[in-house]
Symmetry: C2
DNA sequence: CGCCGAGTTGAACTGAATCAAGAAACGTGG
DNA sequence: CCACGTTTCTTGATTCAGTTCAACTCGGCG
């Protein structure tokens, strides 16, 4: 029923009409591991669709590096506060593996949305789905113990535990690397 | 620059064209304090715009009543998971004061969006703003002490502390009523 | 009046952070 | 390809913020 799940763009790529429209505004790029896609303090003008590889959004809180979002194959990533509000972002985006991706500029995307209601409609459905996932994430982090947060992520995205270093998952889950290590070691 | 803030519908009501379109699908209602606008386990077909009064979204986690959203004058409220995904909601909505509100049905809203791109566009901007606020809320609750969460809410929405009972604010902030009371008593 | 839920206060307990030190993994240059 | 230094991960001991449990107070309302 719902064409979206998990911020996947499967629906977009599988719909010939949408895929064609988006192909007109996407450019392919390949970067190496540790490449910084976006730096905090600047306005983010790009939305990225990951083809292969994995990326994270993170920021600094009192010198501590805190990850707050991961995106892998067929998922999108951007510094959302900046992309939507057109102001400087507090977030950075870093690639955690060599990554192939499509780049879409903010202005091209807005122009596409304005060119036909069906694209605007797609945009609305997409952000709605992202919203739902964020509501779930709040539920997941609030009122759960460190062990429970670990278990929830493990059941939802087990592959992250293979691909992302422990300290980044720990910060994503709101716990110290020490606590993460102890939980992992059963 | 950004016409939205704080999920306020000021922009909607101040824009004659939008206001007129919405007036065609809104119905006025008045309810008493403690009225249940929506009950968990059912599909939520309505979006509410508060004219006066205040409401909360809450759910039960192991018998504990947890508030997760408040909406007062000029703000909207619904059980968002259900309203968007058209499935049974885990959330309830309760009025915390005698409340006047407008009711908009899901189907009327979708029809309005489809009737003209400008409404679809409005819908997208609105959910985008809600998304931004949710990202902020995650930042506010994760990696902050009970004292800090209290201070952040106090600086953002001091009026809540007058209008909502302590135990509901405590659950919203993810702490026990005891901890809330101790913080409040300096 | 006396009840009842809401709020306060105190004491004991506990999950997770902090601090510290050692082991393992990584990457960089010779 | 190995040696070295740096970063990441693990494990242990200690500390602390916040929960739990319990007793008491207050204010509204039948």
């Amino acid at each position: 029923m719902n064409p979206f799940s998990d911020q996947s763009v499967t629906f977009l790529l599988d719909n010939p009409e949408l895929a064609e429209a988006f192909q007109g505004i996407m450019t392919y790029q390949k970067y190496q591991k540790h490449h910084i896609l976006h730096e905090s303090g600047t306005i983010c003008n790009h939305l990225y669709i990951i083809i292969s590889g994995i990326a994270r959004v993170f920021y600094y809180k009192e010198d501590k590096d805190i990850s707050c979002h991961f995106a892998a194959e067929k998922e999108t990533i951007t510094t959302i506060d900046s992309f939507i509000q057109r102001k400087k972002s507090k977030y950075n985006i870093e690639l955690m593996e060599d990554t192939e991706l499509f780049i879409i500029s903010h202005s091209d995307l807005e122009n596409l949305f304005q060119s036909h209601p069906k694209y605007e409609h797609f945009g609305r459905l997409y952000i709605q789905q992202a919203y739902i996932e964020l509501v779930e994430r709040i539920d997941d982090i609030q009122l759960h113990t460190a062990q429970e947060r670990y278990d929830i992520l493990m059941s939802k995205k087990p592959e992250l535990f293979q691909r992302i270093s422990a300290k980044h998952i720990a910060s994503f889950l709101g716990m110290t690397p020490e606590t993460f290590s102890r939980i992992r070691g059963k």
